[in-house]
Symmetry: C2
Subunit: 329 residues, 2 copies
Amino acid sequence: VNRSSLGPGAEFDLIRRFLHRAPGGAGDHVLVGPGDDAAVLRDGGITLSSDVSVEGVHFRRDWLAPEEIGYRAAAAALSDLAAMAARPVGLLVSLAVAPEDAAEVAARVMAGVTELAEGFEVALLGGDLSRSPGPLVIDVTVVGRTSSPVLRVGAEPGDEVWVTGELGAAGAAVAALLRGETPRADAMARFARPTPRVAEAIWLAEQGIPRAMLDLSDGLLGDASHLSAASGVALVLEAASVPVHGAVSPGSAEERVSLAASAGEDYELCFCAAPGAGDRVGAELLRRFGVPMTRVGVVEQGAGVHWRHAGGGRSPPVLGGYQHFGGSR
Amino acid sequence: VNRSSLGPGAEFDLIRRFLHRAPGGAGDHVLVGPGDDAAVLRDGGITLSSDVSVEGVHFRRDWLAPEEIGYRAAAAALSDLAAMAARPVGLLVSLAVAPEDAAEVAARVMAGVTELAEGFEVALLGGDLSRSPGPLVIDVTVVGRTSSPVLRVGAEPGDEVWVTGELGAAGAAVAALLRGETPRADAMARFARPTPRVAEAIWLAEQGIPRAMLDLSDGLLGDASHLSAASGVALVLEAASVPVHGAVSPGSAEERVSLAASAGEDYELCFCAAPGAGDRVGAELLRRFGVPMTRVGVVEQGAGVHWRHAGGGRSPPVLGGYQHFGGSR
């Protein structure tokens, strides 16, 4: 995640501060610098992103098996390549683990990384390993290629806003775990072994559909605010259209939509497309990949993310995007 | 550091175990897979390496300013590109910091990274940021290019073993800090702001000098054992030839050589060259870069790393390479 295009929030302020100082962002070698889901080098379209996961912040050891920690970290990193419509080539894994975990846990974390890498035909290129005096930390850097990256910039007033899949399953699993309950199996699977939409993104880009795109790691509301900020437009979302995963329950319809749109780590795609363009490919996406896509709003002139209610009224959403600093968890 | 060619040691056993399971290491896209200082992709010679630094393992906050932590982490990562004679293009930084450090410390760490990046004309491509419930963790991934990487494989019996610079300054600084003393300023500078030998490595490779090379991150003895293992040869080092930094003191000559050859994090180059080849370029290297190079031994048939003493006797060294697990610190 090159989190920096950037809606509001303390984490984003912090990243913005150092990336604005970044040298070489517009250098000869760099086509896309910091500020999108991944960076892209000019020559060869090499696409790069890093994603760090920290025990006690992104996962808990009593929630996930070591294999799941590795799988999930690698899937989250690969999702940033999907967000650019880039084809993954390889990954590097840096792991910091407690000495008593070195023998077993590290090997099991790497087994999970390997399973994801094999499933997506991605090479494990290397990495690093250190003792940690504290939490388990895993940082995954992914490298891919694209000749025409899809950026966060590019949404235009009049465009439609689409998401793939159904939202909120990972969030529902986390909510259940926080209550001390056992999550529904399908929700837990989405949390523990998310599926980055790599092939879906490449196919959509080949059809020329997404004008601007990112992956949903911070939640629909949080990520929509990044897309809005990068493209310089307003995103107006229709609450009734949000595809809420069946595991998001109980609660009123409004509460379920709110959770589904606020919860992070779905790793679905969110993109803006010309009016009518999405309708032309939705059925084929479902047929090819078994993944639905749903129109959830429209792009307008202005700024920020807004809810449009069934009656026609409009309200700014309560920001629910995942934030590591000063955020909701 | 893709630490895996690999001499003995618990850390290396662990990395070896998962890299042997690595998918795609010899895949279509991969020219050099895990097991060298960096991986190299076939198309375009894209060279990649990650290097993680953990508070309490690689550095202490009472020893280094945040800027130095960032500079040093980025320099160490860049040194892995130097080890391949690759030209650096960019870097990604993942940072996990305590919430109370988010505002100031993270920005200062990134200022150090930026200073290194600007000095080496390397673009900051992106990264990630997380809260850490424990130590500060910084993982730097570097990307470069090379059309003809210099590997750890390739040393042949009869070759000479060379190192750049002088060894042991960083180790002397750490030793002083551990004793509660103030290190000599020149030693502290080498520890806090090491200089990766990027231009030196590229120039040496352009002259066709190194047949096999790595950078000295784990100490001469530790890294020589990796080179020995990768090339399937014995390295016989002459204790009297080791260029010991002036900050390594006091002690007998033998003690000083032992410390200089065991201490890690010098980030000098160690390479094997055909007999006489090094002598032809040493003066020019010194003239161009202000960096000496010294012949410290020879390559023989066999395995492992050995000391040859002044009298002609030979003994296996006590392994002193830096090890994160079960090691000397």
